[in-house]
Amino acid sequence: MALESQLLQYLFTGVTVGSIYALIALGFVVIHNVTGIVNFAQGDFAMLGALVAVTLTTRTPIFNRVFVADFDLPLPLGIVLSVLIVSLIGAVLYFLAIRPAKGASIVSLIIITIGAHFAFQGLALIAWAADPYGLPVFTRGGPLEIHGAILTRQNLWVIGVTAVILLALYLFFERTMLGKALRACAINRLAARLMGIDANRMALLSFVLSAAIGAMAGIVITPSTFMGYDSGTFLSLKGFVAAIMGGMNSATGAVVGGLLLGIFETVGAGFISSGYKDAIAFIVLFAILFVRMSVGVRKGQSQFEEVGM
């Protein structure tokens, strides 16, 4: 394999992996923008989305083989239903855990979302046991070969879904009243409320939206990476790093951050050490935070010191 095609292969792989991080990062950004909360259970939305889709579309024994889910829905219908169900779960999370803790400190809110992460994981473990599950690829057919590097159809789906979601979010935030109201909340909650925007409803909406994005992310990667009850943890971690790389409050930034992270990781694992692949994300995170912080100090303040509601 020539060096050129190898580099191209790293790029393809990096972009595919990065798209996944980007999707999770988008979910983080939507909630963080509106509520100031970092939702540690974000990766679990992806896990739940994938496992619900699997249950709806293929014969799956659940609850310790007590029930057998035999819906056998066609894949597109299963995906739509799964996204809806997970959105509902997002709403339930908001009503049960976030809304009642109104006014809690940032440390309390972190602990609450960590608690939610545990609860989701445990429930998934009861429902689907510890086995990983896969989905069929969305479209059958051979891979594309460009200069000796391979790009599969599922990779194209992953990249495509990321692009479509980014575009849809852009249109939603820029072109609809509701989207503008959400943005208003993000910029200044009090002012938004004075303008008659219901901040609680906006917070609810942000949870629903980001659960839906998370579910879609989980579904689209499952054909090549599989999903089990504990897959959410690392998706959350990497997605959060991507979101910080992108500035934590910009959707476009989150996508760019995700893609860059994916490429760094892939190239790093290839050229430095595959054993330390998972460390790369965090080393990048440290570097970015410290660089930004020193820039912020020079400017007289640091945006990273001001994190809160």
Binding site: M1, L3, Q6, Q9, Y10, T13, G14, T16, V17, F63, N64, R65, V66, F95, L96, A97, R99, P100, A119, G122, L123, L125, I126, A127, A129, A130, D131, P132, Y133, G134, P136, P143, E145, I150, T152, Q154, N155, I221, S224, T225, F226, G228, D230, S231, F234, E265, T266, V267, G268, A269, G270, F271, S274, G275, K277, D278
Partner: protein, 471 residues
């Protein structure tokens, strides 16, 4: 009613649901016969009073029902509980005293965590006063438990494969004199057995050359049922030689299982003259291996060796096919579960791996000594678990528990006698192989217990040694 009240109600009902879900009949079609109360078990060493019920024989099992190793722990737990039901339905174990003793198997979950494995082992040894300890599913947990078993002088059988469990490892950094060769500096996980293989010497000779290294060949109280990783690597090496492949790449999980498997590979491939051009790693639970595979592709190896368990192994196989490799892919025995085929689907076709015979039991020749036992186990296990898929892991537990049942029947429950009985087991027909234990071999099975299996159209197919070339 405000939001907080609603929340309380929901939280309580959520916990209730959790409990009810757990109440749902677990993989046991029949209820427990009558669990013995957890405390105040009759003292095993005292001879039973004439009117008393014969003492229950107790086996304590620690496996990973949850956590990273749960795909191993669940079939192990179910196999162990299945034997308890079978034995007790038949009235118990007939001890050397001629009385029928009930069998109790106490299963503990270590959640794939060393601290929990140790406290569970202590609980079983100290509180439940078990007569033999078994488990754990993973190697580090087994190693930590082995120390407790040695201290308590209770025989233990591990279900994990790392040779470091039964063979104490040399301290990393120790300089070992090799007769007739330059000195060797031991790195992590290396044992006398490893060095013996690596330098083609005998363990005893190496130990004689290094009298100041106070590490024995085996731990006296510790045994294990899974194959070593050496015979696995040896079968793989035979395959590469038959195919004429001289250069292979390796992709392995970065945990105890992967470390041991890679050590086996390094020792035996060197012997066979096969060069390892890449030794890539990944973390347990990783989902994406395309970075490592891309690097491997650039090196143009003649084959790929994977050291992984089902979930990661399947993802590697799928992504290996995605990237358009045209070379053979050989796994180790970590993927011996239906889950691998279910996940990798069509991409699993063509995968080769050395494994115990349970997966291909029905295609074995009738003359095979294990065939009858294997078919019976598969039938019983399917019935007991309501059709859960067969794996080799359940077999490791079956072997361990059956060894204990056999030895209780022969010598009773006294620890030292059970230990001697384990060490003296000969021609013991188990699921993982035909065991022949000895004072220097606490695993008891070798290369003969393994077969090369190929996945064809989603089924495991036995590949005889003379057909390696064509697969």
């Amino acid at each position: 009613m405000n939001a907080r009240h609603v929340l309380l109600v929901v939280a309580v009902s959520l916990l209730l649901v959790a409990v009810v879900a757990a109440c749902a009949p677990a993989p046991t079609p029949t209820p427990v016969p009558t669990p013995v109360p957890p405390t105040k078990a009759p003292e095993p060493t005292k001879p039973p009073a004439p009117t008393a019920v014969p003492a229950t024989y107790k086996i304590g099992v620690v496996v990973s029902v949850t956590g990273a190793q749960s795909s191993l722990g669940v079939p192990e737990r179910d196999s162990a509980l299945m034997i308890m039901d079978q034995v007790n339905k038949a009235g118990g174990i007939k001890g050397p005293d001629g009385l029928m003793h009930k069998l109790e198997v106490i299963v503990e979950d270590d959640a794939s965590d060393t601290t929990k494995a140790v406290t569970a082992a202590k609980k079983l040894l100290e509180q439940d006063k078990v007569h033999t300890l078994q488990g754990a599913s993973g190697s580090p947990m087994s190693i930590a438990m082995a120390a407790e078993a040695e201290k308590a002088k209770i025989p233990m059988i591990s279900y994990a494969s790392s040779s470091a469990i039964v063979y104490p490892a040399l301290t990393a950094g120790t300089v070992v004199k090799i007769p007739g060769k330059p000195d060797h500096t031991a790195s992590a996980g290396e044992t006398w057995v490893y060095l013996a293989r690596l330098y083609g010497a005998k363990e005893e000779d190496l130990m004689k050359a290094n009298p100041d290294i106070k590490v024995g060949v085996v731990l006296p109280w510790v045994f294990k049922t899974p194959q070593e990783n050496y015979p696995v690597s040896s079968v793989q090496a035979d395959y590469w030689k038959a195919k004429g492949v001289k250069k292979v790449a390796s992709l392995g999980v970065n945990n105890a299982f992967g470390l041991d498997s890679r050590l086996g590979m390094k020792a035996l491939y060197k012997e066979a003259g096969i060069e390892i051009v890449a030794d890539e790693l990944f973390q347990p639970g990783d989902k994406d291996f395309r970075a490592q595979l891309t690097k491997i592709k650039g090196l143009n190896p003649g084959g790929l060796v994977v050291h992984a368990t089902s979930a990661e192994g399947a993802a590697i196989t799928v992504q290996f096919r995605e990237l358009g490799f045209k070379i053979p892919i050989v796994h180790n025995h970590g993927i011996g579960a239906q889950a691998f085929i279910d996940l990798a689907k069509a991409d699993a076709d063509g995968v080769l791996f050395p494994i115990g015979k349970v997966l291909v039991a029905d295609t074995l020749p009738d003359a095979d000594p294990q065939k009858k036992v294997l078919l019976q186990y598969i039938k019983d296990y399917k019935a007991f678990t309501k059709d859960a898929p067969i794996s080799t892991f359940g077999g490791h537990a079956w072997d361990g528990i059956q060894m204990a049942v056999t030895c209780f029947g022969k010598v009773g429950s006294e620890a030292a006698k059970v230990r001697d009985c384990y060490e003296g087991l000969k021609n013991f027909i188990g699921i993982s192989g035909v065991f022949n234990m000895s004072a220097t071999d606490h695993t008891g099975i070798a290369k003969e217990s393994l077969v090369l299996v190929k996945i064809e159209k989603g089924k495991w197919v036995f590949v005889p040694a003379d057909k390696y070339k064509d697969n």
